[in-house]
C-alpha cells in the first residue's frame, strides 16, 4: 500500500480546495471553513508560493501557519482593508453557502421568504460584493439536495444567469471558479455556465454525487467523470505535521 492511498476524505478535500488557487500567483487566498483555510495554506506551502494568507484575523502572515497558531505578520488586513481589496480584485475567496444553484447563485442570508424567513441565517455578509468583484469558489462540507438546490431562496452571491441583467460592464469581474464538496469537485463550464461535475472523490460514485444534487448536473464531455486526485506524500506531510496536527479537518468532514 502506498502512502497516498491512506488519505482521508478530509485530506482529499483539503487538496481539492488548494487546487482552486492553482495559478493565482500573488493574490490574497481568502478562505472560510476548516478544509478551505487548510487548502489556501497548503497551496501556498507547495505549488502556489506567491499566495498571501492570513492568521484568520487582521494579519497577513509571513509564512502559512498552523490552524489556531499565531505567526509573524508581513502585512495588515483589517476588515476595512479586506473590503477595499474586494473592490481592488487581487483576491480569490472560497466561501461557504447554505444554498447554491446550478448557475452559482448562493444564499447565506435566510431560508424561506426574505420578508419573514423560516430561518434567518448570517445575512448577506460580503457575498454580493465578493462575487461581482473578484474570483469566487465555494467549499461545502456536506453536499445534499438541501444545499444544491434548483433555486436559492435569496441571492446573496451572484450566479452566471445574472449576466444578461448585469451587462458587459457589470459582469466583467464575475468569475466563479469551482465548488468543492465532501463528494466531489464542480466548475461552471457546463452549457451556459451551468455547474458541471469535474471529479468525484475516491470512494464516491457519480450516482452519489447526482443524488446529492437537487438539480441536474452537467457532466464532462464524453460523460466519463474522473476521480479527484490523491494528495501527494508531501502534501499529506504538510497537512498532518505542519498545518493541522490536531486533525480538525476530520471534524469537518467525517467520511
Amino acid at each position: 500500500m502506498t502512502v497516498t492511498a491512506e488519505a482521508s476524505r478530509a485530506e482529499v478535500c483539503v487538496v481539492a480546495c488548494a487546487e482552486a488557487w492553482r495559478g493565482d500567483g500573488e493574490i490574497l487566498a481568502a478562505a472560510m471553513g476548516t478544509c478551505s483555510v487548510l487548502g489556501a495554506r497548503l497551496a501556498r506551502s507547495t505549488f502556489e508560493p506567491g499566495l498571501l494568507t492570513t492568521d484568520g484575523g487582521a494579519l497577513l502572515t509571513s509564512e502559512p501557519i498552523p490552524l489556531g497558531a499565531a505567526g509573524e505578520p508581513e502585512g495588515w488586513l483589517p476588515f476595512r482593508e479586506h473590503l477595499w481589496l474586494v473592490q481592488n480584485g487581487r483576491r480569490h475567496v472560497m466561501m461557504g453557502a447554505s444554498q447554491i444553484d446550478r448557475y452559482g447563485n448562493s444564499n447565506i442570508s435566510a431560508i424561506g421568504d426574505w420578508a419573514q424567513p423560516k430561518s434567518q441565517l448570517l445575512g448577506m455578509r460580503g457575498a454580493p460584493g465578493n462575487t461581482i468583484c473578484n474570483p469566487t469558489s465555494y467549499w461545502i462540507p456536506r453536499q445534499s439536495p438541501r444545499v444544491f438546490v434548483e433555486q436559492v431562496d435569496i441571492v446573496s452571491g451572484v450566479g452566471y444567469d445574472k449576466r444578461t441583467w448585469l451587462g458587459l460592464n457589470g459582469s466583467r469581474f464575475l468569475d466563479l471558479r469551482r465548488v468543492v464538496t465532501d463528494l466531489g469537485v464542480y466548475d461552471f463550464r457546463g452549457p451556459e455556465h451551468q455547474m458541471r461535475l469535474v471529479s468525484v472523490h475516491p470512494g464516491v460514485t457519480v450516482e452519489q454525487a447526482k443524488e446529492a444534487a437537487g438539480f441536474e448536473l452537467a457532466l464532462p464531455e464524453g460523460g466519463d467523470v474522473p476521480e479527484t486526485r490523491q494528495p501527494t506524500a508531501e502534501e499529506l506531510r504538510v497537512i498532518r505535521e505542519v498545518l493541522d496536527p490536531r486533525a480538525l479537518r476530520d471534524k469537518e468532514v467525517t467520511a
Binding site: 495588515w76 473590503l83 434567518q120 448570517l122 445575512g123 460584493g129 462575487t131 446573496s156 469581474f173
Partner: protein
C-alpha cells in the same frame, strides 16, 4: 471635546425614533455597557446601524428596534444570534440588509457628507431587491457603467467602545483591527465613547496609528471597565467565550432567557459585572 459623563447620562441624551450607530464588529469590541443601559431604558422605535452582534440581539429582544441597517448579525464563534433570528422570524423589526462593503461605503459617504458612494457590490444580488433604500447610478464618463449608489448611513448618535480613552474623548484600541469605529464616529451628529480605562490627556501611549477616535468627533466619554463584555477586547482580542455560549443558549429558549434576564439584566451595570463574576466561580 468629549465631556466626562456616565452611561446613564449618555442614554438620557437619546430619544425615541433616533438612528443609533453602534461600533465594533459581530461579537468584537461592542459598547455593551451602553447597550445594556439602553436595554434598561424606556427608549423605543430606534433605527440601529451596526455590523451586528449581541448588541443587535439584546436591543431586538428588548423591543427597542424599529429598523435594523446591517450586513450581518453574528457572534463569530457562535455563528447565529438567537434574538435577532427570532425578531426576523416574528417580523418584529424592519430590516435594511446590506453587503459588508456597501455598508462601509454608506458610512464613508456619511462621514464625508456625501449623498452616496458608488460601488459594484450588490449588483445582481437580492440586496437590491429586498432593500428598498438602494438605488443605482450611471457613470457620467465614457464607460457608462451602472453602479450601486450606497446612500449615506448618517446617524443621530454613534456609540463606540475603545480599550483606552483620555478624559477629552480621544480613543485608542489595542487589538489588530479598528473595525469601522472612526467612521461611525464621523458619520453621526454626536458620538459617545466608552472605554475600558480612562487616562489623562497625553497619556494614551502606544503607536499613534492606534489613536483611532478623535475628541473632535466625541461629545461625551465614560469609563466602563468590562464595558465590552462579553464581546472581545484587548490586544489579543479575548472574548468571554463560555459566557457568550451561556448567553446564546439562554437566548434560544424563552424560559432560560427569563432566568438570564432576571439574573444579569434586571439590575444595574455593577450588578451585571458582579453576577458574571459569580457565574464564572460557579462554573469552576
Amino acid at each position: 471635546m468629549g465631556e466626562l459623563t456616565t452611561p446613564q447620562e449618555i442614554v438620557a441624551e437619546l430619544r425615541d425614533g433616533m438612528t443609533i450607530g453602534i461600533g465594533g464588529w459581530g461579537s468584537r469590541r461592542k459598547p455593551m455597557a451602553l447597550v445594556r443601559e439602553i436595554y434598561r431604558s424606556n427608549l423605543k422605535d430606534l433605527t440601529i446601524v451596526s455590523c451586528g452582534g449581541p448588541d443587535v440581539g439584546l436591543l431586538c429582544t428588548a423591543g427597542k428596534v424599529r429598523k435594523l441597517i446591517a450586513p450581518f448579525v453574528t457572534m463569530d464563534s457562535v455563528a447565529l444570534e438567537p434574538h435577532f433570528r427570532e425578531a426576523r422570524k416574528a417580523r418584529t423589526i424592519e430590516f435594511a440588509e446590506y453587503d459588508e462593503g456597501m455598508f462601509m461605503f454608506g458610512l464613508l459617504a456619511a462621514a464625508h457628507r456625501l449623498p452616496f458612494m458608488p460601488t459594484r457590490a450588490g449588483l445582481g444580488s437580492d440586496v437590491m431587491t429586498v432593500n428598498a433604500d438602494l438605488q443605482t447610478v450611471t457613470s457620467p464618463y465614457e464607460d457608462g457603467e451602472e453602479l450601486v449608489a450606497v446612500p449615506a448611513l448618517t446617524a443621530d448618535v454613534s456609540l463606540v467602545h475603545m480599550d483606552i480613552a483620555d478624559t477629552r474623548g480621544n480613543g485608542r484600541y489595542l487589538g489588530a483591527d479598528p473595525y469601522l469605529d472612526d467612521l461611525f464616529a464621523k458619520a453621526a451628529a454626536r458620538t459617545f465613547l466608552s472605554a475600558e480605562e480612562l487616562t489623562r490627556p497625553g497619556e494614551l501611549g502606544g503607536p499613534p496609528q492606534a489613536l483611532l477616535v478623535s475628541r473632535m468627533h466625541v461629545t461625551g466619554v465614560t469609563e466602563t471597565p468590562g464595558g465590552a463584555h462579553f464581546t472581545s477586547i484587548g490586544s489579543g482580542g479575548q472574548r468571554d467565550e463560555s459566557f457568550q455560549r451561556h448567553y446564546a443558549k439562554s437566548a434560544a429558549d424563552p424560559e432560560a432567557w427569563k432566568a438570564f434576564e432576571d439574573r444579569f439584566l434586571s439590575g444595574d451595570e455593577a450588578t451585571y459585572q458582579s453576577e458574571v463574576h459569580k457565574w464564572h466561580e460557579e462554573q469552576a
